[in-house]
């Protein structure tokens, strides 16, 4: 049997790894990949709580809250990746750089 806390720990570790990537990487694409990792960690938590918690609730129908929100997170992740990468491509075309620190168009 696998306790709930194992899943939560894995998710927490994945989240922290993604957080480190977001803070430490210079390349914007790499930052985006780290964000995807963090979103995945959130999804693991949602599904783990669904399986260990709300399945038990005495609803007449099968509870689907965890699944539904996991799919909405998936949607948001896809939309974020689509727009984020489009921005990166556009910025690369204009500034010839994908390094996040060098993008200071609004500073000056």
């Amino acid at each position: 049997m696998i306790p709930l806390s194992w899943y939560l720990l894995v998710a927490a570790l994945l989240f922290s790894i993604g957080l480190y990537g977001v803070m430490a990487r210079r390349n914007a694409v790499a930052i985006l990949m780290s964000v995807e990792l963090m979103l995945n960690a959130v999804n693991i938590n949602l599904i783990a709580f669904w399986r260990y918690g709300s399945v038990l609730s005495p609803a007449t129908d099968t509870p689907t809250t965890g699944w539904a929100w996991a799919i909405f997170v998936l949607t948001v992740a896809a939309a974020e990746a689509a727009v984020g990468l489009a921005l990166i491509i556009s910025v690369y075309r204009r500034r010839d750089s994908v390094i996040a620190e060098e993008l200071d168009l609004l500073k000056n």
Partner: protein, 180 residues
């Protein structure tokens, strides 16, 4: 150890190990590959959690679509990939500290509330029919006014906005050419 525990440990190592590769590898293409492996590991966790549909959705969306999008973006902006510059910025030490601190906080919370609690020591037994019905209940929930019909429509608006916005941003116009 049961089969499930063995699978859980292997899958977790896959997820976390490749996750570390994603954030540390200098070669962006290899980082993207590692990211796909990490997503595969997460799909394995979903299967262990009786969420097979979500595992398939994970493969379809993350590996089949988002990763391809990311690889295309890497190729389009590849001149930066020659790894001649540092791949970490100046605050990487701070980042490491924040990550470790976050993990410590989360672990403390998990230890406080869920570690060793009898009710959460194993997956609760649920009849197979309930688990098999989840997908169709999910379908019903998406379009029923009592449940998620509003987020469902909002999700489609979000996707539409993302599509239009991304095309608008990425597609070069005559105007953009003048600026460049």
């Amino acid at each position: 150890m049961t089969l499930e525990q063995v699978i859980f440990i292997l899958v977790s190592f896959l997820t976390l190990g490749t996750g570390i590769v994603v954030v540390t590898n200098r070669n962006l293409f290899h980082a993207a590959l590692a990211m796909m492996a990490s997503f595969l590991g997460v799909a394995g966790l979903y299967i262990l959690l009786d969420a097979g549909f979500l595992a398939a959705a994970q493969l379809l969306v993350y590996i089949g679509a988002i990763s391809i999008l990311i690889i295309f973006a890497i190729m389009l902006t590849r001149r930066m990939m020659q790894a001649r510059e540092a791949s970490f910025n100046s605050q990487s030490g701070l980042g490491l500290f924040t990550a470790v601190a976050t993990f410590a906080l989360l672990a403390a919370v998990i230890g406080q509330f869920w570690w060793g609690v009898d009710a959460f020591n194993g997956r609760p037994d649920v009849p197979d029919t309930v688990l098999q019905n989840t997908v169709s209940s999910l379908g019903k929930a998406f379009v029923s006014p009592e449940a998620y019909v509003v987020p469902f429509i909002v999700a489609s608006v979000l996707l539409l906005a993302a599509l239009i916005g991304a095309i608008y941003v990425a597609w070069p116009t005559v105007h953009a050419e003048d600026e460049a």
